[in-house]
Amino acid sequence: MSWPGTLNVKPINMKQLLIFIRKEFLHVFRDRKTLLMLFGLPIAQIVLFGFALSNEIKDSKIVVADYSKDAVTRQIINKIASSKYFDLEQSLQSATQLETAFKKGTIKMAVIFPENFGNDLIHTGKATIQVIADASDPNLATTITNYITQIITDYNAQLGNNSGQPLQIVPEVQMLYNPELRGAPNFVPGVMALVLMLVCTMMTSVAIVKEKELGTMEILLVSPFKTIYIIIAKLAPNLIISVINLFIILILSSVFLDLPVKGSVLLLVFDSILFILTSLSIGLLLSISAKTQQAAMMGSLMGMMLPTMLLTGFLFPIENMPLAMQWLSNIVPSRWYFIIIKKVMLKGLGFSSVWKETLILSGMCLLLFAISLRRFKIRLQ
C-alpha cells in the first residue's frame, strides 16, 4: 500500500475553475457602490472630458481703454469685439482699475489706445497700441497676444491695400485629424489609458489583499487549486469588466463625441486586452507586498497614478521633460498603449505602424505576469 500516492484527488477541471470564477464575479457585482465606480467612472470621464475639455482658446475676457476715442480706434475696437477670440468686458477709465481687474482674475488682457491715436497714425504714419497680458498662464498669454497682433496685422494690411502693399506671402493652413481643435481627440485616448490602468491595478490589488486580511486566502491555498488557477480566477472579473468598459468607451466616443475608430477595431481590442492584462499583473504585484487594503489602495494610487498621468504623454508632451524622465517613460506601459490608440483610433493606421509598440506591450505583459506569478507563489509558501 503506498501512501499518499493512492489519495484519489482528481485534477482540477474547467467546471471547477468556472465555479471559482463565478464566485469572484459575485463578489464584485454584489458591491453596488464599487460597481458604480467601476463602470460609472469611465463613462462619466469620457463624456465629461470629451465634451468639456478643450484646448481651443476663445471668448477670452479682455478689457479696452480708449483714451483717443476717434474713428480709427472705434474701427479697431469693433474688429476686436466681433472676433470670436475675445469677449470685450468693459471699458476702463484708469490704471488702478486695471490692476484690480487683473487681480480679481476677471480679465486676461488689456488693450490700451493712447491719446491722439488716430491723429498720430494719419500724420506720422505710426501709432502704437499697448497690450498687457496676464502671463500667469504663459501659453494663454502667448496665444491671445498673437490673436491681437493678427487682428492688427489684418488692419494694417487693409491700410496697406489702400496704398498697394507688394509681396504678400499667404500661408494656407490645414489642420489635420482634428480641424476644430477639439479636446476630445487628445483627451479621450489618454483617459482611456489612465482609467483602464488605474481601475485594473487598484481593484485587483485591493481584492487580493482583502482576501488576505479576511483569512480566506489561506483556505484557498490549502485547497487542491493550483496557484495559477487562483490567480486566473481573481483576475477574470476585472478583465471582463475592463473589456466591457473598453467597448462602452469606444461606443460613447463614436456616438457622442464623433470620434469613431478609424482603423481596425480588432487590432485595437487586441492591444487593449494586452494592456489590461499588463495592468492586472501590476495590481497582482502590488497586492503581494501590501499588508492592508488601505496600503494596497494608497500604493496603487500614489504609485501608479502619478507615473501614468505624467509619463503617458497625454497631459504633457514627453519631449518637454528632462531626459531622465523621458527615459523613464519608456517603461510605463500606458505610454505605449496611448501611442497605439492614437495611431489606430484617430489616424486609422494598421498593424504595420504599431507592430513595434505592440511588441513592447506584449513583452511587458509577459514579463510582469511571470514575475508576479512567481513572487506570489514564493510569498505564500
Binding site: L48, F51, A52, D134
Partner: protein
C-alpha cells in the same frame, strides 16, 4: 476637559502612532511636488517640422533658415514631396508639414503674392495652436524683411525681432518686478514701411515676465495633493472605525453627532495645513515659487477649502460600508476634480454647461485663488467670490454629512 478634547487627544494619538501612514501622507506629496512640475511643462518647444522645398531659391532657403533659427522648431524632415512630408506627420515624426511651392521667389515678384502650404497635426490642440502661431509669426516677419529690402528703404531697426517677440525677456526687469507683482517686457512687432501707415503693437506680460510654467503649475499641483489627502483619508478613517466596530461603541455613548464629526475633522485639517506648508517650502526650494500675496490670505483660503473637502470625505464615509467602497467613491471624485478643475486644461475653454458644473467643485476655486495670490498678489477682496463659493459648498457638504450620520439606525 470637554468631550471634544478627549476625542481630539485620541485622534492625534492614533494618527501620530501610525508611522506608515504618516510617511505616506507626508513624503508622497513631497516627491510628487518635486517630480510633477518637472514634467508638467506646457511650454511648447521643439516642434518638429518637415519641409518640402520645391523652389530651391534664395528666398526659400532664407525662410527655412529663419524657421530653424527661431528656436521653436526642429527640422525633422526635408522631403522631396508633400506626400512624404505628410506621411511623416502621420507617423508622429513631424508635427507640421510646410510646402514651399515651385517658383515661389519668381512668383512672388511677378504676381505680388504667393501661397505657402502648411499642414498641422491638430490632435494636440495646444501644440497646434502655438505651432501655427509661431510659424505665422515667422512668415510674417520674413515677409516684412523681404518687403523692406525690396523697397531698398533706408535701413530701419528690423522687424527682425522675429517670433522671439512672443516670449522675450526684457533687460530691465529683475527680481524686484516679482515682488511688485508685475514684470513687463516691451517689444514691438512690426516696423512700418514707407508708404502705408502702420500700427504697431507693444505687448507686455505681467505677473510672469519670464513665462515660467512652474509658477503656473506648482500652486495648482499642490492643491491636487492636498485634495487627495483630505478627501480620501477622512473617508477612510471613519469607514475603518465602522469596519472595526469602534464606531458602534461611540454611538452608544452620549457623544453628540456634531462633536464626533468635528473631532474627526480637526486632525485632518491640521494634517492638511502641515502638508500644504511643506508643499510651499518645497515649491520655494526647488522651483523658486514665492507667493507674491499675503500668506494669511493663502492659509485662510486653505482652511475654508479643507473644510469643504473634508466635508466631502465625511459624506463619502456615510455612504460607505467598506474600505473598498470608500476608496471607489473618493477615487471617482478625485479623478474628476483633477482633470476638470483647471490644473491641466483651462476652465475657460470649456462649454458653458461644463463651466457651471466646475463652479461647484471646491478645487477649481482654490486653484484659482492659489494662482491669483501666488502670482498676482491678490487680496481678500479680490478672491472674495471664490472664498464664498467654497464656504457655501463646504457648508452644504458638511450639513448633509452630519444629517446623514446616524447614531441610531
Amino acid at each position: 476637559m470637554s468631550t471634544l478634547s478627549f476625542l481630539l487627544e485620541k485622534e492625534f494619538r492614533q494618527l501620530l502612532r501610525n508611522k506608515q501612514l504618516l510617511r505616506t501622507l507626508l513624503i508622497a506629496p513631497v516627491i510628487q511636488l518635486i517630480l510633477l512640475p518637472l514634467a508638467a511643462d506646457y511650454s511648447v518647444k521643439n516642434i518638429s517640422i518637415a519641409v518640402v522645398d520645391n523652389d530651391h531659391s534664395t528666398f526659400s532657403r532664407k525662410l527655412i533658415a529663419k524657421i530653424t533659427a527661431s528656436g521653436h522648431f526642429k527640422l525633422t524632415g526635408y522631403t522631396a514631396s508633400y506626400n512624404e512630408a505628410l506621411s511623416l506627420v502621420e507617423q508622429d515624426k513631424a508635427d507640421l508639414a510646410l510646402q514651399i511651392p515651385v517658383d515661389f521667389e519668381k512668383g512672388l515678384v511677378r504676381e505680388n503674392s504667393q501661397k505657402l502650404y502648411v499642414a498641422i497635426d491638430a490632435i494636440e490642440g495646444t501644440k497646434a495652436n502655438l505651432g501655427g502661431a509661431y510659424l505665422s509669426s515667422i512668415v510674417k516677419d520674413f515677409n516684412e524683411d523681404i518687403r523692406v529690402n525690396w523697397q531698398s528703404a533706408p535701413a530701419m531697426a528690423g522687424g527682425a525681432t522675429g517670433p522671439q517677440n512672443l516670449n522675450e525677456r526684457s533687460s530691465n526687469e529683475g527680481p524686484s518686478s516679482m515682488v511688485s507683482g508685475k514684470g513687463a517686457t516691451f517689444q514691438t512687432s512690426t516696423v512700418s514701411g514707407d508708404d502705408a501707415p502702420q500700427i504697431s503693437v507693444a505687448s507686455s506680460n505681467w505677473y510672469n515676465p519670464f513665462m515660467n510654467f512652474k509658477l503656473y503649475m506648482v500652486p495648482a499641483i499642490l492643491v491636487t495633493l492636498v485634495t487627495a489627502m483630505a478627501a480620501m483619508q477622512s473617508a477612510f478613517n471613519i469607514v475603518q472605525e465602522k469596519e472595526s466596530g469602534t464606531i458602534e461603541q461611540i454611538n452608544v455613548t452620549p457623544i453628540k453627532k456634531h462633536i464626533f464629526i468635528i473631532g474627526k475633522l480637526i486632525p485632518f485639517l491640521v494634517l492638511g495645513i502641515v502638508i500644504f506648508t511643506i508643499g510651499l517650502g518645497v515649491g520655494k526650494l526647488f522651483y523658486g515659487v514665492t507667493p507674491v500675496g499675503n500668506l494669511a490670505v493663502l492659509y485662510a483660503s486653505l482652511i475654508v477649502y479643507l473644510f469643504a473637502m473634508l466635508g466631502l470625505g465625511l459624506l463619502i464615509s456615510t455612504y460607505s460600508g467598506t474600505q473598498q467602497q470608500a476608496m471607489s467613491l473618493s477615487f471617482f471624485f478625485i479623478n474628476i476634480f483633477n482633470m476638470m478643475s483647471g490644473v491641466f486644461s483651462s476652465v475657460d475653454s470649456m462649454p458653458g454647461w461644463a463651466q457651471a458644473i466646475v463652479e461647484t467643485f471646491p478645487p477649481s476655486h482654490f486653484i484659482k485663488i492659489m494662482r491669483m495670490v501666488v502670482l498676482k498678489g491678490s487680496g481678500f477682496g479680490d478672491i472674495g467670490y471664490h472664498l464664498a463659493a467654497m464656504a457655501l459648498i463646504g457648508l452644504f457638504l458638511n450639513t448633509w454629512a452630519v444629517l446623514n450620520y446616524r447614531k441610531t439606525s
